[in-house]
């Protein structure tokens, strides 16, 4: 029987995004709630001055939280429902499964992203090059989040462990770093701590592209190098160290 890789990838998208949104739309509200809550809070606190930054921050948070959402979804399918074991014992490879599940998380983020892109279009002044830079940075953060989500889902044995890792990663990657405000708002020497998180580099690229901060060329190059390196290293670790077949 001829096997279609496209079908195998689409199966994950159907299960984790299309059917979930169609049959249980309240899940969709959950993905929108956090980024838009932050926009509202930041806008009120800054009397509207940081609205644009908050929208850019929400874009980053959406990509990160949906990427990390992979961990919970995979853990649920693996540990609670044992559906992943049915997939492991089928012709689907780990790579195909994970690509499909990653796309499903992106599909889940689409309604939120669509609203945020429309807001960016009307309220931000971004050049074409800037838009490409923002897209690239968001994609790399998504890769980072997916890699972490996949890795931790394969080493957790129940959903409680998964929640613990998920909460920790979400805080470290999307709540603590200066996503909704410039890093200069953080007093020294605490700015150095913010640079531990890859999200800080993505936020700087996005904020620079939208004109909220002015990075030097060298600073921008360093941000891209760090972000790309972290994405590549984490994805490599996830692929090599994750367990598809249990040991």
């Amino acid at each position: 029987m001829a096997r279609s890789v496209a079908s195998q990838i689409f199966a994950s998208v159907l299960v984790n995004a299309v059917y979930a949104m169609k049959n249980f739309p309240v899940m969709l509200i959950n993905t929108m709630l956090t980024p838009f809550s932050f926009i509202i809070v930041i806008t009120f606190i800054s009397h509207g001055a940081l609205f644009g930054l908050a929208v850019e921050g929400a874009l980053i948070m959406t990509m990160v939280s949906n990427g990390l959402g992979l961990q919970g979804d995979l853990s649920h399918l693996k540990n609670d429902l044992k559906v992943q074991e049915m997939v492991v014992g089928s012709p689907t490879s780990a790579t195909i499964y994970i690509v499909g599940m990653a796309i499903s998380e992106l599909v889940y983020a689409l309604p939120t992203l669509a609203i945020l892109v429309v807001l960016s279009f009307f309220f931000l002044n971004v050049s074409v090059i800037g838009a490409i830079a923002i897209g690239g940075a968001l994609f790399l953060m998504f890769v980072v989040a997916i890699a972490l989500g996949f890795f931790f889902s394969t080493i957790t044995s129940d959903v409680i462990q998964s929640f613990a890792f998920s909460g920790m990663l979400s805080t470290l990657l999307s709540a603590l770093p200066p996503v909704y405000y410039p890093i200069t708002y953080i007093p020294m020497p605490y700015q150095y701590i913010a640079y531990i998180s890859p999200t800080t580099y993505a936020a700087q690229i996005v904020q620079n592209a939208a004109g909220f901060i002015n990075l030097s060329t060298a600073g921008l190059v360093v941000d891209w190098i760090v972000l790309i390196a972290v994405a590549v290293v984490l994805m490599s670790i996830a692929i090599k160290k994750s367990r598809w077949v249990e040991v």
Binding site: S7, Q8, A11, E85, G89, V245
Partner: protein
């Protein structure tokens, strides 16, 4: 003919006790093979290794000469596995679940939908096809999962305790289904319901504490015990001297004698002449299981070693 073979297959989880201990197995993949054993006997471990979802610690396992570890991708084209405690995704319908599973196996969307309808029909659950799993009974959910793996068209189906937790009526319905489905495919079934193995299996394996104690058809296992008949004494009869086989005291406190045909005939005559009620039958799988496992579980759950109790 396709065969499943295991040579000195062992599995230890971390530093815990050994789950599978040097299992040697050679099995034709026709009909139904039932692996019986108590909780923790190693049934799930063996199924997971054979279905390529768990690595063994040592030894090897092959299906048709294809190694389940080194050539797992080849094996996975031919098998489908229903894990123990698997549950259908609550926010999906059976039609959606089966379609998605078939697509994971590489079937196109349209063809997968058609096969899903056929599987629902085969399992007699078409009327639930578009109902969310969260609105179904436990028995129907298990049927959905069986339909899912059957729809794959795989030659070899692993079902790990598919009827655990079902009420007797749902279990009976599942047996009827499995009896129907075994035609044209091999079903590797694990269960701790001995009557299930007796009703469905062409061959039975007895696993205990990671060791494969016996394997064969029910009649072969009866022969292997050396005592193919059971004489169950239905009233107190401790004064009768029995030296015709192996005697155990049953859960009701009365004696049960495992013996040969000649022994059963002789004992029957003595019991009749003493006016004692009894029943003679070929040994059941439950009897065989206790024989091989050599442990008897009392009604209260207390285990006693040995199992052989010589009557007065």
């Amino acid at each position: 003919m396709t065969r499943i073979t295991c040579k000195k297959l062992s599995k230890r989880y971390g530093k815990g006790p050994i789950a599978l201990d040097n299992v040697d197995l050679s099995l034709d993949t026709t009909g139904v093979f039932a692996l019986i054993g108590r909780n923790g006997a190693g049934k799930t471990t063996l199924v997971r290794i054979l279905s390529t979802t768990l690595f063994p610690t040592s030894g090897d396992a092959k299906i048709d000469g294809v190694d389940v570890v080194g050539e797992a991708d080849e094996i996975r084209k031919r098998i489908a596995v229903l894990p123990q405690e698997a549950r259908p995704i609550p926010w999906m319908t059976p039609r959606e679940l089966i379609t998605s599973y078939l697509m994971w196996r590489g079937v196109g969307y349209k063809n997968a939908g058609k096969k899903a309808s056929e599987a629902l029909d085969l399992l007699g659950i078409t009327k639930f096809g578009d109902t969310m799993h969260s609105h179904m009974s436990g028995g129907t959910k298990r049927k959905v999962l069986v339909a899912t793996v059957i729809a794959s068209g795989a030659d070899i189906i692993f079902l790990d305790e598919p009827t655990t937790g079902l009420d007797p009526i749902s279990r009976g319905e599942m047996w009827d289904l499995l009896a129907k489905l075994k035609k044209g495919r091999f079903i590797f079934l694990t269960t701790h319901y001995l009557e299930e193995a007796e009703a469905l299996a062409d061959r039975i394996g007895v696993l205990d504490e990671g060791k494969l104690l016996a394997i064969g058809s029910l009649s072969e296992l009866r022969r292997k015990t050396g005592y193919p008949y059971s004489v169950k004494i239905l009233q107190k009869a401790d004064h009768i001297k029995i030296k015709l086989g192996r005697v155990i005291r049953g859960r009701d406190g009365n004696l049960q004698v495992f013996t040969t045909k000649k022994g059963a005939d002789e004992l029957s005559r003595r019991l009749i002449s003493n006016g004692i009620k009894f029943a003679t039958n070929p040994v059941s799988l439950e009897d065989i299981f206790y024989f091989f496992v050599k442990k008897k579980v009392d009604e209260g759950g207390e285990e006693t070693g040995g199992g052989e109790w010589q009557g007065a």
